[in-house]
Symmetry: C2
Subunit: 423 residues, 2 copies
């Protein structure tokens, strides 16, 4: 294995994890670590403070550094730093999903020009090997679908809501206290994090650029304990699913939203902060990869794995890992959510009046929606009823139109929730 | 990607699958296919019969062939054929688990001398990417445990026994009728197939040679519907588990046997012919890889994946994939089953006499075995009772001794089964 000098940008949880794991690999030398606050006390045994710098450009411009490991996150200054490093002929290992989802194609283009590689196993699903397998051993496949749990925070919250019958707010608060959710949880609970990851996975699976702004995104903040209870009664678990599909006409359908997942589905069994990716393709069929999607150590497994594979390849060639090159010229044609077909869960609050069920059935029918299950359980104190409808596969725009029509009727008080269903 | 000429040895289900998948990859040219019976009618559209030969050495000695793809199976003549091919400087892609488990170290040694690679993703778990990920992106890890369902036939039989309350014999018969089990099912049901695969996985995970003859192996033929019923009542599913563990003293524990797997464990949820591998290591933690473990198409995904990665690497180097080199000098110290520690399920047939439970408890206690659960359900017509005991972690040799002592007592009629438990 070739000896490499590396520079690490970012020295938080993941950076420190990478530092600790790299100690066992004598051929990889950490030459510099760029940090925000050089005076912060680091709780690491025998740590050489002279490795630290507050100027990350020192690393990007250091002629002795072979590989930049970027684990700082965010767009600015990471984008410019990595451009500089690539310009200077350095290979990149990064865990920065936002950067890759938003600016990946520019970086990959530059990397190709400069004959360096960008590796990013850690950017999606932490310790789970998925990027490298798709790029290498699975490359005989035409992948046509990914359905995945890519955000540990929301999966933890949904698991606790189901296990302990908690409200979203209470479960979020507990997740924050235990360190599973951040003080500002927006990036996780609104689905941004999962959207970055499914953008990356869809790009490498379908071999076209994916526009992050065209990914339909819906978080978990509107899921109620009543939804979870109804789902359970119907044989489902609610999960935040990131999905990418290659349609028969070559268009792609990429989105992130909560789904009712049938209990028999392997993704329904993924609890707490675990991540899991189901990938379907020809000839391989369905594969499921499950493991820790975050955390210092699992993420370090992927970052250091990338570094070691690169070091191994550089022993015998100056053009390592040609199969990882990611340089797609064309944007995928992404369809909007209105054009997708799904099964639906519709939670309706209606007045306790005769003909309500008939009205729902009629309006659904007029909009080409077949109902497969309808459930009403008793009457509320305010003389309204909760009605849950599960539909057969229907067009999203038809469903939206039906819901608008339902709301115009006096006896429909509210559409409490609309969720999609995966069987 | 470099253009490669390949020769395929073996043209059964997998060979035909590889042929079909390779049609989409114009840079990989099939130069020759070695078959047993050259006159057999092949049901393939536009098939060029002139590709066929009954002499596989033609391929191994053909200077125009770059890569030999061996999907014939068995030791003879595969071992000699691959040695000849390697001597002639050809790279090898093989799905032959028996050959690798029994003769792998000789082949890898020769390959290293001749500077060629042997790739074998398809030898373990069909389409599931596991060999290449362990060798590459997971290489930062110290793997300390593998627990896996590696044989689809036995998993199918056990699933049907549980779902439909069938006897082993009936479930086997149905599996044979549906093509899930062979006419002579020994290789699958006695655990040989799983033993070859766990030998390969343990070798690459623990980086020492594993002696296939020292792997403890027990099949599923003694599992009764009563065992499956009792397991279910206690919250377990019975699976044939292939296991490899690196112990703290550096010794390894490799074995194949049925286990009671706790219902909450991800492996308990793997049904029918699906395979699944749980791998634990530092820093990655637990990973689970699930997918089709057999079949023409999934296996072709792995075989063609190996070929394409090789072609890609050969574009930029004559020494491709250095990280896949497998050349272990040392044999692992494998411990015998008697020295392992496990939780146990013991099914006992006892006479309906006072003091039986006390006797079981006393003999277990005298042999350092703590009982965690004991269950007796009514009395049989012959005035005997079925008693099921679950123990805490105990030494196998102690358990065997306790069973011998129990059998000496008049009131113990039979030890119906002894199975190990995974929580």
């Amino acid at each position: 294995m070739k000896s490499l000098n590396i520079g690490i940008i970012g020295f938080g949880t993941v950076g420190t994890g990478v530092y600790n794991v790299l100690k066992s690999f004598k051929n990889i030398k950490i030459k510099k670590i760029a940090v925000k606050n050089i005076n912060k006390k680091r709780n690491i045994e025998n740590f050489d403070e002279s490795l630290l710098t507050s100027n990350a450009y020192e690393l990007a411009n250091d002629p002795e550094i072979d590989v930049i490991v970027e684990v700082a996150g965010g767009l600015d200054p990471a984008f410019d730093l990595l451009k500089t490093a690539i310009q200077n002929g350095k290979h990149i290992v990064t865990a920065n999903k936002e950067l890759l989802a938003k600016k990946g194609s520019e970086l990959f283009k530059l990397a190709k020009e400069k004959k360096v590689v960008i590796l990013y196993e850690a950017a999606v699903a932490g310790g789970i090997p998925i990027i490298f397998p798709i790029k290498t051993i699975l490359c005989a496949n035409k992948i046509n679908k990914i359905a995945a749990i890519l955000n540990g925070t929301t999966n933890y919250i949904l698991t606790k809501m189901a296990e302990k019958e908690l409200s979203y707010e209470t479960a979020l608060k507990q997740a924050q206290e235990l360190g599973y959710a951040e003080t500002d949880p927006t990036g996780d609970v609104e689905g941004f994090d999962a959207a970055y990851k499914i953008a990356i996975l869809s790009t490498i699976s379908f071999n076209k650029k994916v526009d992050i702004n065209k990914i339909y995104r819906e978080g978990i903040t509107k899921i109620t304990s009543q939804d979870i209870k109804s789902a359970k009664e119907l044989g489902y678990t609610i999960k935040l699913i990131a999905m990418g599909q290659l349609l028969e006409n070559g268009e792609i359908d990429v989105r992130v939203h909560p789904m009712l997942v049938a209990k028999k589905h392997l993704l329904a069994k993924i609890d707490n902060a675990t991540n899991s990716i189901m990938l379907s393709g020809y000839p391989v069929g369905d594969l499921v990869f499950t493991g820790a999607g975050a955390g210092a150590e699992p993420t370090a497994s992927s970052v250091v794995g990338d570094i070691l594979v690169l070091a191994s390849e550089l022993e015998t060639t100056d053009m390592p890992l040609p199969q990882t090159v990611c340089n797609h010229n064309e944007y995928a044609k992404q369809i909007p959510i209105g054009e997708t077909y799904n099964e639906y869960y519709i939670a309706i609050n209606a007045s306790n009046s005769p003909g309500v069920i008939g009205l729902i059935g009629t309006i659904c029918g007029q909009n080409n929606i077949n109902i497969s299950t309808i459930m009403q359980k008793g009457i509320n104190n305010d003389n309204t009823a909760e009605i849950v409808v599960i539909t057969e596969k229907s067009k999203e725009s038809d469903v939206q139109k039906a819901l608008e029509e339902l709301l115009k009727s006096n006896c429909i008080k509210n559409i409490d929730n609309l969720l999609r269903v995966m069987n």
